[in-house]
């Protein structure tokens, strides 16, 4: 991350304040350099420039469209090279920001990254081993599930069908789906705490969201494995 830009920046052309609209001057409509602007600031009209986790999605989309109309490289095809480059960078930031902010999970992940609690290792992608480390309270269930999955795959290899096992796994899938839903609702409560709490409450919310996201990733992989296994037809 570059040095974060303060909300008190001014337009390079007319020096108007950019607090409410850092990518596009609200006064003269000129595109602004986007270095150092974070996703929440890019949507300052919706977030007030603050890292909020509870957002009005309809307002977010309206702002996305409004800014796209002004910032998109299509609008700068005849502009100077410098403005073309700023338009490209500003639109990329706008698109990246919209993609992340419209999804509650990605929005939370981005907040954690911003606050130095990034969940991802550098270049680790989504196959990193942490995703495969079961949360302590689930160890037993996961062990059981893996045994059943192994059995199912063996059966499939032999061309056998075990309806009881399939039923068990379908139940397990529903169970883990339920846990996933619980994680999402816990995340929403923590998000509310983050948005309204004092510094101490915020720090605590941040920490629990980080571990909830780890748990969520683990569960999601698990559910996907079960789904895949059940969807594989016997040979």
């Amino acid at each position: 991350m570059d040095t974060p830009r303060t909300n008190e920046s001014n337009c390079w052309a007319c020096h108007a304040s950019l607090a409410a609209s850092p990518l596009l001057c609200p006064h003269c409509g000129k595109v602004q350099p986007s270095a150092g602007i974070n996703y929440f600031q890019a949507f300052a009209a919706v977030t007030g420039g603050q890292p909020l986790l509870t957002l009005d999605l309809a307002a977010l989309e309206r702002e996305f469209h409004r800014l796209s109309r002004k910032l998109h490289p299509d609008r700068f095809a005849r502009a100077s090279e410098g403005e073309q480059a700023w338009s490209l960078a500003a639109t990329a930031l706008l698109n990246d920001a919209y993609r992340a902010l419209k999804d509650p999970v990605q929005r939370t992940e981005y907040l954690l990254e911003l606050k130095g609690q990034g969940v991802g290792e550098q270049n680790a992608g989504r196959n990193k081993s942490a995703d495969r480390q079961p949360p302590a309270d689930l160890l037993e269930e996961v062990f059981e599930l893996n045994m059943q999955l192994e059995e199912l795959r063996m059966n499939q290899k032999m061309g056998e069908d075990d309806p009881a096992l399939t039923a068990d796994l379908t139940r397990a899938q529903a169970h883990f789906d339920g846990l996933l839903a619980q994680v999402d609702s816990d995340l929403a409560s923590q998000a509310a705490l983050w948005d309204s709490g004092d510094d101490t409450a915020r720090a605590a919310a941040l920490k629990s969201m980080a571990s909830l996201l780890d748990r969520r990733r683990y569960l999601r992989n698990l559910v996907r494995d079960v789904k895949d296994a059940l969807a594989t037809p016997a040979l």
Binding site: P73, D74, A89, N123
Partner: protein, 654 residues
């Protein structure tokens, strides 16, 4: 930027597998610009004329379009079609294509080199061949406007990867065009349809062309065309149907007559031409007849009833279903949520394709029909013209329109163990970016290599290799200490840009790019066609050359006219008028007065008007009355069912 940019037109070009078109915005409406022969479609065929020993130039003349088509059968080793299939591809990708298409690769091709195709005694890269097609379109537009054209929007299949897009942009540059934007074909089509209706809702564009298949799902909202998902297959199209039918015919000929045509390129082209005609007929008729004269005076005649045809091609058509389902899944919608379906590409004329589309999107079940009111061959070019107008900012009609497209394939970097770390997901709105940090593994290491791939598979070796980036000039530090920030940015053309910075020293790291399948800037520079193409000073000269070519085309047609039965219906006065205007044009074309040549062309066009009508009457309905030969030829083409074998009938290729 030059001062005259504001008055200059930006054209929209559909660089197709089978046909290419150029269009522009005429007032509020996009229109296609016809060529000298009056046809809107320029077949994407490029041929080398036999070398004329008397000519000063050592390079043979390159012909494009309908003229080149004749060479396809006469001198197949000097002509090429469907070169779009080879754009941005490597040797190992094209083995399958080589079995099906008469592409002859240069013998001295090295692994890792950009493909070169042999035409006669010369070799060309695929972008060079495409550049000849683009140059023809550029000339058609210049002839039409009477002024130079140097800026264009070019369409590409939505599912084209980075290398294929770069190759297309390179082709534009070689043709002397400043490519302002590459636009995805289905998106362009949506734009052409959406222009005059302020629609809201979700639309699907099913684009089944000559060589590529795309499907895109878009959300329309107050002039914003937001693509939410796209999918496709860049090697699936009408070509595959032609190849299939050709293979069946060639097999049958071998079985029935013991004649093996597989080693006879001219015979294969004749079979191909016949099956394409049969394919087109089968879109409107219950059966078609393949009738071919074989070497040795034998005949191959074969009736193909539509059910047999549909059974044959079912496998090809079925390959379009999975991309449609994937696109809907990625968009998070069900078929029932799609408000409208737009059909694009010549292959959507096939009734079985329409049936498949109806099933895929639950259309008739919901009392809906797909949109087909714009000519499926032209709609992409028309949309490109709309986008060109948006970029030119030249009229209020397109002021409120904006395309927000997506990248069709995920972008990743090869991590330890050959696994792909995805940094930009497919269907992300472009421009899109991702920032990654890299460090060194050895003390004092001054460069880091990054392998960038595109695709959805877990292993880098299963994805499409885009390029290897070599970050150089990292200040020597203990291992792990440098922190190199690399910014990956996919621009509005869907093309990757990479920049890097060493954060501890603040130094801009230099990047050496080794594209896996592509030309370097220097290579492109050497391939720019006739440098005079860019120079305005030579514009008049070129106009003259083209006016002479146009004169020759018309005179050749008039010379052949007496062979047509319609000629006998002309009065002696009419014949006399034609002959005298033809003589006048003959004389004018030897001079160098552009205005006089143009005047004589127009005069001859006028005196042959009634002959054209008579000829039409014989071939077609009376709906063609009152048209000149050129216009009549044009209309003859746009009527789906008739393919008159005369001089003015344009491409029958789909």
């Amino acid at each position: 930027m030059s001062e005259n940019t504001s008055i200059e037109r930006v054209v929209g070009i559909d660089l197709g597998t089978t046909n290419s078109l150029v269009a522009y915005m005429q007032g509020d409406q996009p229109v296609v610009i016809p060529g000298v022969d009056g046809s809107n479609l320029v077949p994407s065929i490029v041929a080398l004329d036999p070398v004329d020993p008397a000519a000063e130039s050592s390079r043979p003349t390159v012909t494009v379009g309908n003229t080149a088509r004749r060479s396809l059968i006469a001198t197949p080793e000097r002509a090429i079609y469907s070169v779009k299939r080879l754009m941005g591809r490597g040797l190992e990708d094209v083995r399958e294509e080589l079995k099906l298409f008469p592409f002859h690769l240069a013998e001295d091709l090295q692994p890792g080199e950009v493909l070169r195709i042999r035409l006669g005694e010369l070799t060309f890269t695929p972008p060079e061949i495409s550049a000849y097609v683009l140059r023809q379109l550029k000339r058609n537009a210049e002839r039409y406007f009477g002024s130079p054209v140097t800026k264009a929007v070019i369409t590409v299949p939505a599912y084209f990867n980075d290398a294929q897009r770069q190759a297309t942009r390179d082709a534009g540059r070689m043709a002397g065009l400043d490519v302002l934007r590459l636009v995805n074909e289905p998106t362009a089509a949506a734009l052409a349809y959406g222009l005059d209706r302020a629609k809201e809702g979700i639309i699907a564009v099913y684009d089944f062309g000559g060589g590529t298949f795309d499907v895109s799902i878009l959300k329309l909202n107050d002039g914003i065309f937001e693509v939410i998902a796209t999918n496709g297959d860049t090697h699936l199209g009408g070509d595959d149907i032609d190849n299939l039918l050709s293979a069946v015919a060639i097999d049958e000929i071998f079985n029935d007559h013991g004649i093996d045509l597989r080693q006879q390129p001219d015979a294969i082209q004749a079979v191909r031409k016949a099956v394409i005609e049969a394919k087109i007929a089968l879109s409107t008729q219950p059966a078609a007849l393949l009738d071919l004269e074989l070497p040795g005076g034998l005949r191959y005649q074969r009736e193909i009833p539509r059910p047999v045809y549909e059974q044959l091609i079912a496998g090809v058509l079925a390959r379009t279903a999975a991309p449609c389902r994937q696109a809907m899944a990625d968009a998070g919608i069900t078929p029932d949520q799609i408000d409208e379906v737009v059909l694009v590409g010549g292959s959507t004329r096939i009734p079985a394709v329409r049936t498949l589309v109806d099933q895929l999107f639950h259309l008739s079940a919901r009392g809906k029909q797909p949109h087909t009111d714009l000519n499926p061959d032209e709609v992409v070019a028309l949309g490109a013209a709309v986008q060109a107008n948006i970029l030119a900012g030249s009229s209020a009609v397109t002021d409120d329109l904006l395309l927000l497209d997506v990248t069709p394939l995920s972008l990743g970097i090869e991590a330890l163990g050959g696994v792909v770390a995805r940094i930009i997901q497919r269907n992300s709105t472009i421009p899109a970016s991702a920032t990654e940090h890299f460090t060194t593994g050895v003390d004092g290491q001054t460069n880091v290599a990054i392998h960038v791939v595109q695709g959805e598979r877990e292993l880098a070796s299963d994805c499409r290799s885009l390029a290897r980036f070599d970050l150089k000039g990292i200040p020597p530090m203990p291992a792990g200490l440098p922190r190199i920030e690399v910014k990956f940015l996919i621009d509005a053309n869907g093309i990757l840009q990479v920049s890097a910075r060493e954060q501890r020293s603040g130094q801009q790291a230099s990047i050496e790019v080794k594209p896996t399948y592509g030309l370097t800037d220097d290579q492109v520079e050497t391939m720019i066609l006739d440098s005079f193409d860019n120079a305005e000073a030579d514009f008049e000269q070129r106009q003259l050359i083209e006016a002479r070519l146009e004169a020759e085309t018309i005179l050749a047609a008039v010379a052949k006219a007496p062979e047509n039965p319609a000629w006998q219906l002309l009065t002696p006065d009419e014949v006399g008028a034609i002959e005298s205007t033809a003589r006048a044009l003959e004389a004018a074309k030897l001079g160098s007065d552009l205005a006089i040549i143009r005047l004589c062309v127009t005069a001859l066009d006028q005196t042959t008007r009634r002959f054209a009508e008579l000829m039409m009457d014989q071939a077609v309905s009376s709906a063609m009355r009152g048209k000149t030969m050129q216009v009549a030829g044009d209309q003859l083409h746009s009527s789906d069912t008739i393919h008159a074998p005369h001089q003015f009938a344009p491409a029958e290729f789909e």
